[in-house]
């Protein structure tokens, strides 16, 4: 008997599709290609055929499953709430089980990422050779390869010193301690945006929060999990569950990390023990944006805008992993609207995926650029000076496309705006 265990788990979701085709309007991939295999309805139909034994994991099927940003636009707008993201991820996992890891292309970093040291070394290597490369603008350089795989795009420079080489394990609260949190770094913050991590730590300690930075924390595993390599993802999940114990909350500045830490249970739990441990972690994870507003109950008007942003107009990009994975929509807007000295302008397509889709953009950079071009139109329409978001993954892609489209806007993480 063929192993279909992963797909069987999501069969109920796949069955919900009534083939109305509404998802075609929302799917960024379909909107570019206008081919049925690219839209939720098509992927879902093919996944159901796999379950029925009428479709194999052919290379073409691998392509089709790979061509999904997992942006959940389809899910959010589906009249019968078909959870195509779960179907796609399960199908990928099934494929990895059947065909082995090598079968799905597009996960260059799978091995390296699972091993945080190796990832660091790889990144370090890149950094060492960085000076060889032409400098485009400010912090941005063309890296060959992280290089080729990223399609010769504009990529932010790697930090001279990674965050974990700079952090202490404990930062006591300033004044009386209200609570203790673990700060989860995430790869992009660690390797590319260490200042972001430091400013979050300082922001929190100044508000009476003790911040611990457990050294044993690992990559959140988003790219690995979403590629269907559940075995490695479980390994990472277990590492993180262990590392992030004994604190009131786990806080991160990366939208993808917070959403992935919260979703271990949903995607990975295979037994009761895992359900319990992953569920327990989930209940304590907070994205920085929601932590500031919902837990610390900071009043946005009481925050201080950094000098350099005085008088500027900002627009907000909703990362898929915030708005649709975690339903975080109002918190960042409240902060932006509350900051005195800053003007807020909503872009018309704020919730449109930026086109990154993690490793999607590595293999479908052409589609990524087309999707991002639509995003750029939205940004232009606002006349904003700066584009603000809260996911380093989106930041990297927005930055690349702002430059490609020769736009004047700069891209920032929300936390970079506040003192």
């Amino acid at each position: 008997m063929k192993d279909l265990s992963e797909l069987k788990k999501v069969e109920q979701y796949a069955d919900q599709c009534m083939k109305c085709g509404f998802c075609s309007f929302f799917c960024p991939v379909y909107q570019e290609e206008r081919i049925e295999t690219g839209v939720a309805r098509g992927k879902n139909y093919l996944a159901k055929l796999i379950i029925k034994g009428e479709q194999e994991f052919t290379p073409e099927m691998g392509e089709i499953l790979g061509k999904c940003l997992l942006c959940k636009r389809c899910v959010a707008n589906c009249p019968s709430k078909t959870q195509i993201d779960r179907v796609v991820v399960a199908a990928r996992a099934q494929m990895v089980k059947e065909k082995g890891l090598g079968f799905i292309k597009g996960f260059v970093f799978r091995r390296a990422m699972a091993n945080r040291k190796a990832m660091g070394r790889y990144a370090r290597l890149m950094q060492t050779f960085q000076w060889l490369l032409p400098k485009t603008e400010g912090k941005v350089r063309h890296l060959p390869d992280f290089i080729k795989s990223l399609g010769g795009r504009n990529f932010p420079a790697l930090a001279r010193t990674f965050l974990r080489e700079q952090v202490k394990t404990v930062y006591p609260a300033v004044g009386p301690r209200k609570m203790t949190v673990a700060f989860f770094m995430g790869c992009a913050t660690d390797f590319v945006y260490p200042e972001l991590g430091l400013s979050l730590i300082s922001f929190l300690t100044r508000r009476g929060v003790e911040v611990r930075v457990p050294k044993e924390q690992n990559c959140c595993g988003a790219a690995i999990l979403f590629s269907g390599d559940f075995a490695t993802a479980r390994f990472l999940a277990d590492e993180n569950v262990k590392a992030l114990k004994d604190v009131d909350y786990v806080v991160t500045a990366c939208g993808t990390c917070s959403s992935t830490l919260k979703d271990y249970k949903k995607y990975l739990a295979g037994n009761e023990d895992e359900e319990k441990r992953y569920g327990e972690l989930e209940s304590r994870v907070k994205d920085a944006t929601e932590f500031i507003i919902d837990v610390l109950k900071v009043k946005p008007e009481e925050l201080t805008l950094k000098k350099e942003f005085e008088g500027k107009t900002a627009t907000w990009h909703d990362p898929c992993h915030l708005i649709r994975y975690q339903n975080i929509k109002e918190q960042p807007r409240a902060i932006l609207k509350g900051l005195k000295g800053l003007t807020y302008a909503e872009m018309p397509n704020a919730d449109l995926c930026c086109g990154m889709g993690g490793s999607f953009s590595v293999y479908h950079y052409d589609i990524t650029k087309k999707i991002a071009a639509k995003k750029m139109e939205g940004i232009k329409a606002t006349g904003a000076d700066i584009v603000v978001t809260a996911c380093p993954g989106c930041m990297i892609n927005l930055l690349d496309n702002v430059l490609l489209n020769k736009m004047p806007q700069k891209v920032y993480h929300l936390l970079e705006l506040v003192e």
């Binding site: 009534m18 085709g21 075609s24 081919i35 139909y45 052919t58 009249p79």
Partner: protein, 458 residues
């Protein structure tokens, strides 16, 4: 299919616009229905009328079936390539060619999705009145070919009233223009209208000239609550009889109300046997007056309560609920017969009573959720194809609903078309002389029967 033919198609439309992988063929084997599935032999995406013409010439010579396809949202099996051959997918011909604000017209390619058109012309304060509720996926080519219509047809009518002209490629490859860009046109037979609701069996529409209207400045939503669904049915024609033509009148029955309240509680009266949703649009004085009159008339004819939406947001809630109704029906059963029978408005209460009777007689759930304003009620039967006994009873009930509707002076399909789904009834309810006229037209235009064969009649 011969490899040499596929190579020819590739040279016409380009390599990237011909798909032959088994996965792609499977993804073009279905439409919005659940039960009709057949794979094409090749999927071709034309991008110009002359490409369509070149493809059809080959198909005609080789006698290969060609099934045009837009968004694949129809619910009658219309775009399923029943006899294999070419799935001719129009989704890449999706340009809005021109918007003429002086003449209130738009020229579009057939693959334009209705919602994309709506958003674009709204910038010029214009709208295209036919509003099939599948507007997020349906294309204008498909909408014209099914003569689609939605809630707003009470006041505005259906697609055929808004098509001024089309460019169509005949099965033999000629590209012809029918109709024009004027509101009046009596130059010989009205051939344009033969293609509207032809379900892709006479040719491929490659361009259309649409009539638009200015967006009315004000809208108002009124909900009337009933203890008897048949009384709600009566209210529909009473309101119209009293001189008010709302743009929409939709009916939700008790079952639907309760499913909606489970999914998204918005305060619909769960104990009501039915509610009617009215929408009036126009200039504000007229709309205010009409709303009052609707409230009066519905109360007089049995509404136990009438609510007028406070503002646009409140109104949006009611219409969200109406939209969710459809998902509710489909989400609750393995197999759904969504009927499309339409009766003259005065007969709505009779049709509703007939459905109630049949639900008892066959012990099945029959739901009424539809465009009450135009008599297009969409009775739906919830069943499961794997439960033979229940399924058989449902089929019988469905037959009787259709017979009943025809007896009441109605028709088999109001907006979904015949396709495959309604074939078995088509001959029964259509005058043989008329069927022969249709077949005559078909063989005149499509001598080799290559355009969407296997549809409408057996």
């Amino acid at each position: 299919m011969k490899e040499s033919l596929i190579a020819e198609f590739r040279s016409i439309v380009g390599k990237e616009n011909v798909l032959t992988s088994s996965e792609a063929l499977k993804a073009y084997s279905y439409d919005g229905t659940t039960n009709w599935i057949r794979e094409p032999d090749v999927v071709v995406f034309p991008t110009t009328a002359s490409q369509v013409s070149a493809v059809l010439k080959i198909a005609n010579k080789e006698k290969i079936p060609v099934t045009p396809r837009g968004g694949g949202t129809n619910v009658s099996g219309g775009s399923v390539p029943w006899l294999g051959g070419v799935a001719l997918v129009m989704t890449k011909m999706n340009k809005i060619v021109r918007i003429d604000k002086e003449n209130l017209t738009a020229t579009v390619e057939p693959g334009v999705v209705l919602q994309d058109l709506t958003l674009r012309i709204a910038k010029d304060r214009l709208f295209f009145p036919p509003d099939p509720q599948s507007f997020l996926g349906a294309t204008l080519g498909g909408i014209i070919s099914e003569n689609g219509g939605g809630p707003a047809c009470v006041k505005y009518g259906v697609t055929k009233q808004y098509i001024l002209g089309i460019e169509v490629v005949l099965p033999t490859g000629e590209i012809v223009n029918l109709g024009g860009r004027t509101l009046k046109n009596v130059v010989g037979y009205d051939l344009l209208h033969i293609f509207i609701s032809a379900e892709g069996t006479l040719g491929v529409i490659t361009k259309a000239e649409l009539k638009l209207l200015p967006i009315p400045p004000v809208k108002k939503t009124i909900m009337a609550v009933y203890d008897d669904v048949a009384a709600a049915g009566e209210s529909v024609y009473r309101v119209l009889e009293n001189g008010v033509i709302p743009d929409k009148i939709e009916l939700l029955d008790n079952w639907v109300i309760n499913r909606i309240e489970e999914m998204m509680p918005i305060g619909l009266p769960k104990d009501a046997d039915a509610v009617l949703l009215f929408e009036c649009d126009g200039i504000s004085e007229a709309v205010a007056k009409e709303s009052e009159q609707i409230a009066e008339t519905t109360k007089k004819y049995g509404a136990r309560e009438v609510r007028i939406a406070k503002d646009d947001e409140d109104a949006a809630k009611y219409w969200m609920a109406r939209k969710a109704g459809f998902a509710a029906v489909y989400g609750k059963a393995k197999t759904v017969f969504a009927e499309d029978v339409t009766v003259p408005r005065g007969k709505i209460p009779d049709l509703i009573n007939k459905c109630k009777e049949l639900a008892k007689k066959y012990d099945v759930e029959i739901i009424v959720l539809g465009h009450a304003g135009d008599g297009n009620l969409h009775p739906a039967i919830l069943t499961d194809i794997n439960n033979k006994d229940h399924y058989d009873r449902s089929v019988k009930a469905m037959h009787e609903i259709i017979e009943g509707a025809v007896e009441l002076g109605g028709v088999l399909s109001g907006e979904h078309g015949i396709g495959l789904e309604k074939q078995k009834f088509f001959d029964k309810v259509t005058d043989p002389v008329v069927v022969n006229m249709m077949k005559g037209i078909k063989s005149l235009l499509d001598p080799n029967n290559i355009m969407n064969p296997g549809k409408i009649w057996d």
